[in-house]
């Protein structure tokens, strides 16, 4: 099964994989080869990728994504998102600091637009932090 992770900045990943776990609007789903064709909405969250059948959880690859669209066919999984960050590129301390800043921004927002923006920032950094956390737990 081929997984394509497509963002505005180009194709982030294009690889043969065994299993993909995706955050959708109706809850997380796991996709294996031969899944029925499906088009769904992705919400900000974590994508986990298992490359080979026997891989342990510690070998999973993580991506933090913003919202997007998922297209599943029997041989292909295409994930169309605005942004995707690879787990290795996320530094936990940095994300923590950014999250705190975003929360402060949210609490001091003066109008609806600022609040909306701050909410998006908070969501974004929460997801990144979650990815960093997953990585730490699995890769000790």
């Amino acid at each position: 099964m081929k997984l394509e992770l497509v963002t505005l900045m180009g194709v982030q990943l294009d690889k043969e994989v065994y299993e993909v776990m995706l955050p959708t609007a109706a809850g997380p789903i796991a996709v294996f080869p031969g899944h029925e064709p499906l088009v769904s909405i992705a919400i900000p969250g974590v994508i986990s990728v298992r490359h080979n059948k026997g891989d342990a959880d510690s070998q999973l690859e993580f991506f933090a994504i913003s919202g997007g669209v998922i297209e599943v066919t029997t041989k292909n999984v295409r994930v169309l998102v605005d942004e995707a960050d690879h787990g290795d590129d996320i530094i936990e301390a940095e994300s923590q600091a950014a999250l705190e800043r975003a929360i402060k921004l949210r609490d001091s927002a003066k109008d609806q637009i600022e609040l909306e923006k701050a909410h998006q920032l908070v969501d974004r950094h929460m997801v990144r932090l979650k990815v960093a956390d997953l990585r730490r737990r699995h890769h000790r």
Binding site: L8, A26, P37, V39, S40
Partner: protein, 288 residues
Amino acid sequence: MASQQQLKSRIRSVKSTKQITKAMQMVAASKMRRAQEATKATAPYTQTAREILAHLAKQGATKNHPLFDARPVKKRLLIVIASDKGLAGAYNSNVAKIYLRELINDDKEGVKSSSIAVGRKVTQFVTRLKDAELVGAYEDLPDALEGHELRSVLDTAYDKFVAKEIDAVDVVYTEFVSSLTQTAQVERLLPAGSIDEPLNEAIREATFEPDTDVVLQSVVYRLIGAQLFQALLDARASEHSMRMLAMKNATDNASDLIDDLTLEMNKARQAAITQELAEISGGSEAMK
């Protein structure tokens, strides 16, 4: 004829100007290469979104959808994209010219137009116009653009269109054709046009979750987002390549000027020497 001293100081000043323009040319060249690469990056994204959309269109989901609602245009929103800085040849004025033409057209046809400006130069231009209504201005966008930077521009346009406050959204930007050709132009963002993408067989049988409407909205939102992002990337690449060319011309002109001034200075020096010799020989003649 100017004195040797004056010529010397002019040559020196032109030389340092040349060094600056040369440096700016180099900077623009390297930025252009990066920006040019970036303009290609959105292609797979757009392609995928179009494929899903084509599939939805086939099922008739786009027929009565608010984003595809092509109604008579009475009010429209223009998103004008140019640069923060000048010294890029005709880059900003080309965009301004097209923008002005659109405004005049709107005026003739009784269309009420409002604008969102991206870039400091164009913001200044719009605010100086008497009748233009500016609803948003964006400046100092970072060099390495990311999708969320445009979110608020996109959301403003999207919300106003859905609420029927405006009937059309157009983007005025500079298309990057090649490093030699860039054309300022207008492109329609909303209402979303028809899609004539060939159908991808693999998703013919697909289930849509939670339903087609939600998926459609999300896909269209992403597609116009990508279109806007592409316009901005194109504008970036065009800006840098036009700046590079402008700076190259400036450097060449400075070189020519230095040559001319050097020639003039040599002439002045030679004239002074000849004069001195004439005076000496005249003086010794008089001593006899």
